[in-house]
Symmetry: C2
Subunit: 193 residues, 2 copies
DNA sequence: CCTACCGATCGGTAGG
DNA sequence: CCTACCGATCGGTAGG
């Protein structure tokens, strides 16, 4: 999607540390002094690397959006049955969520602290992503592979289940990301009954 | 559960207004001055009704927890098939979420701004609630009514789908709360395929 | 419920 | 990357 220039190492480190703090305490409740301390420097020194606190949040939120879109595109470009494409899209989504669950949690919960116009741009991207899942499910219904009275409703419910993952996923857990993804896909596609 | 004394009207009004602000801006980013302005009074005046900002958050989070437990208890006390009880528990959960979606959103996202020991107490309650769903699903599996390799996993996924509701529910929408609940139950219990 | 105010802390800057 | 600092704002209190 957007061509993202590689970050200088120090800047990338600031982003990573800030992401962990934003996730744990929330964006508004995380101070630049806490962030500086966690990095082993003084508050003022942060500003030789970044312009503002919000700049970090912006980069995290839009960077994750890029990752989700890239994963979806790769998962759905083959001419496979729609149900198989949906499974692959679920796997791709879960891979992004598990590869950096801290950034994912920030993406999911802290975007509202973006100021305009970034906030609206972010929401437009999120809508577009949900729309892609909705369209895929609708194609599946048209092809007779999927059954639901309301693809939009189904897409929201499906993504909601997936997006809860950063709240409990632990890299050292028993299930691998792909095993988690397949289990989620199984439950969501086949139901509990 | 806990016997909650009725609030004086002004206090209840403060809670309602604060809940709407906490939801829209987040707890940390909502100032007592904003809250006072929204209520038409001065910041200092709030403190003749409440002791602290956190007191409001505490009441909202634990009040909702009570509502969820009460709904679950009512839904599962009859001697019905487990699948029917699970459906009723979903309906009860969705009723709480839709009856006050602002308070539900605060319950779901802002609890982490509780200080100890309230935060740990809250998480223990939430775990207990998830455990009740897990146990119900496990009973359904044992009875041969439900099928899942992992009731804990299934409970998390199910609740995640339901808890996304406050993010898009509008009271003036086409579907009533009970219609939404039944549609969610249908999709979660029967799947998309 | 208001006025007047407290100490603490905030994001960010200037100058080196 | 640090020192020293800015004005603004924070949650909360005293006294009426």
């Amino acid at each position: 999607m957007s061509t993202t220039a590689p970050l200088r190492p120090r800047k990338a480190q600031i982003d990573r540390t800030a992401t962990a703090l934003f996730r744990a305490r929330g964006f508004a409740a995380t101070s630049m002094r806490e962030l500086a301390t966690a990095l082993g420097l003084e508050a003022g020194s942060l500003y030789s690397h970044i312009k503002s606190k919000e700049e970090i949040l912006h980069r995290v939120c839009f960077g994750l959006a890029d990752s989700f879109f890239a994963g979806f595109a790769a998962a759905t470009q083959e001419a496979a049955p729609v149900a198989a494409q949906l499974r692959q899209a679920i796997v791709a989504h879960v891979r992004v969520l598990t590869h950096d669950s801290a950034a994912s949690a920030v993406f999911l919960h802290e975007w509202r602290h973006l100021s305009e116009p970034a906030r609206s741009e972010f929401l437009a991207l999120r809508d577009r992503y949900e729309g892609a899942f909705r369209a895929l499910i609708a194609r599946g219904v048209a092809a007779g592979e999927l059954h639901t009275p309301d693809p939009a409703f189904a897409a929201l419910t499906l993504l909601a289940s997936l997006n809860w993952l950063p709240n409990w996923y632990r890299p050292e857990g028993k299930l691998s990301p792909d095993e988690i993804a397949h289990r989620l896909a199984e439950q969501l596609l086949s139901g509990l009954v």
